[in-house]
């Protein structure tokens, strides 16, 4: 059951000040409305993972680790590998995160990242099949949020993409009956697309890219759009208790598409 969260403690006064600033096209941290925060990527920092990447987007830190092994395929896709995305909002990341099973925020995060990867066909799942119907590669993408300063979705998509780009699959020999044995060596996981998401927050009538935590706490709604390498839309998710006009959405598809293209180029530079 989804329940209205209790209101953030930010006074309506604070909100008024932010809205005034936004009226002048300014943001609390000095960015322009369509300016994203700088990001850094560090890859291969977890030796026990088959791939890993830590992204710092402003002060938001997300670590993604990839575990790859083998298992049975789903009955309805017997010739495809399995890709699973999971997110944990561990309590070191924010005074508001708690221990315990994932709540709707973590589940939505994981599912939006999952769709961004899956719908853009980031990996060819059919190439991850070992023995049809019996044995396939199973890849876990585990999102670990280490510091929450806003816009976890975009940081997580970046980290997941980076980690997958650096993932090395263990090699296996497989028998017809589905018996699988590890053999030495690894092969690179082939990435065939680079999905990048851009999340836009809405406060009053202003639209702002890559909202920070301060902005998230007062924003009315957000819209995430994930674009593939060709500039097509692969996933969208509106969140929050506010609304968008159709014009806002149509305009955003163009501006956000361009912005993700810049981000993609920057990422290529960072982890080539």
């Amino acid at each position: 059951m989804s329940v209205t969260p209790s209101e953030s403690t930010i006074s309506s006064l604070a909100r008024k000040r932010v809205e005034e600033l936004l009226g002048e096209g300014k943001r609390l941290d000095g960015r322009e409305l369509t300016q994203c925060r700088e990001f850094e990527v560090e890859t291969d920092l977890i030796g026990t993972a088959e791939g890993s990447a830590q992204v710092k987007l402003g002060k938001t830190i997300v670590l993604v680790g990839i575990k790859a092994g083998t298992g049975e395929p789903f009955p309805d896709t017997p010739d495809q590998g399995v890709l699973t995305v999971n997110a944990e909002l561990v309590p070191i990341a924010s005074p508001n995160f708690e221990t315990g099973p994932p709540r709707e925020g973590a589940i939505e995060l994981a599912r939006v990242v999952d769709r961004s990867l899956r719908e853009s066909k980031i990996v060819d799942l059919e190439k991850l099949c070992l023995v049809p119907g019996k044995a396939v590669y199973v890849i876990f993408v585990d999102i670990y949020v280490l510091n929450h300063d806003g816009n976890l979705i975009d940081a997580s998509v970046l980290a997941a993409l980076s980690a997958l780009m650096k993932t090395k699959l263990p090699k296996y020999t497989a028998k017809k009956d589905g018996t699988v044995t590890r053999k030495s060596g690894h092969s690179e996981l082939k990435i065939q697309n680079m999905p990048i998401s851009l999340t836009t927050g809405k406060i009053g009538e202003s639209l702002l890219f890559d909202p920070s935590l301060e902005e998230e706490e007062i924003m009315d709604s957000r819209i995430t759009m994930t674009f593939d390498s060709e500039g097509n839309v692969r996933a969208m998710q509106k969140g929050g208790h506010g609304v968008f006009t159709t014009e806002e959405l149509k305009t955003l598809v163009s501006t956000a598409g361009e912005k993700t293209s810049e981000i993609r180029d920057r990422l290529k530079e960072l982890i080539k």
Partner: protein, 253 residues
């Protein structure tokens, strides 16, 4: 959404696998006030979807720490019956149901005058009894009627409809087959007379131009459903002192 090469979506006449045109809705039946114990309720049948919504409240909230000082809490559960899908669904809530409950709640939040009922809760229970694609949209359409039936004041009715892309074409109101094998599915919920988007999700593959087209189509389809919603409410609450329209019939309650 996995595209299979062998799949064909249209017949020789360009009609969809269930005989519809590209911009045609599935047949929709709406019934208001179908449950006795709920404050308000509605049943929607849309193609192969059969969804029952019950609303309780505004009422006292338990546990009390969920009470909000200046507004009603909205609680929303989207839940599938075990027999509503091809392979029996385990009764425990899935991650998918958790996410859909959230986006539906967020679609309803801007519409309900929650500020009239501080410290109470309004509970919206959406029970999917049979599912055949687009259940979150059907559920929202029915939830809005159930809220109206419960007498909960709203800015407008909420109405939802998906559009998407199958076989290279933008289509309205995808059924389960089109959702599974088509190229894109995009559920949209709107406040119809204010033209505001309350819910938007998409997965698949759309060019920006196709997105524009699909959005317009989803809104256009939603508005058609909106007319049916209004009729269902009129039918359910005939106003005796005004000259009644011909089509008003007593709804089974």
């Amino acid at each position: 959404m996995s595209k299979k090469n062998e799949v064909s979506f249209f017949d020789g006449k360009g009609l969809r696998n269930d005989g519809r045109r590209l911009d045609e809705l599935r047949p929709i039946e709406l019934e208001v006030g179908v449950l006795d114990n709920a404050s308000g309720s509605a049943l929607i049948r849309q193609g192969g979807n059969r969804i029952l919504v019950g609303v309780f409240g505004p009422r006292e909230i338990h546990p009390k720490h969920l009470a909000l000082p200046n507004r009603a809490t909205l609680r929303c559960r989207y839940h599938m019956a075990p027999f509503s899908v091809e392979d029996r669904k385990h009764p425990a809530p899935s991650r998918r149901e958790t996410e859909i409950s959230k986006v539906i709640r967020e679609a309803l939040e801007p519409v309900v005058f929650t500020e009239y009922y501080p410290r109470t809760t309004i509970d919206v229970y959406i029970e999917v009894l049979e599912a055949n694609g687009g259940t979150r949209c059907s559920g929202i359409t029915a939830a809005s009627l159930a809220l109206a039936d419960a007498g909960v004041p709203m800015r407008d009715l909420v109405v939802a409809c998906a559009s998407g892309k199958v076989g290279g074409k933008i289509v309205l109101d995808l059924n389960d087959f089109e959702d599974k094998y088509g190229e894109a599915d995009m559920p949209v919920a709107i406040l119809p007379h204010l033209d505001r988007v309350l819910l938007l999700q998409m997965d698949g593959n759309l060019t920006p131009k196709e997105f524009h087209e699909a959005l317009d189509l989803a809104i256009e389809g939603s508005k058609r459903i909106y007319e049916m919603q209004k009729k269902a409410l009129r039918d359910s609450y005939p106003i005796p002192d005004e000259p009644q329209e011909e089509e008003v019939v007593e709804v089974e309650k």
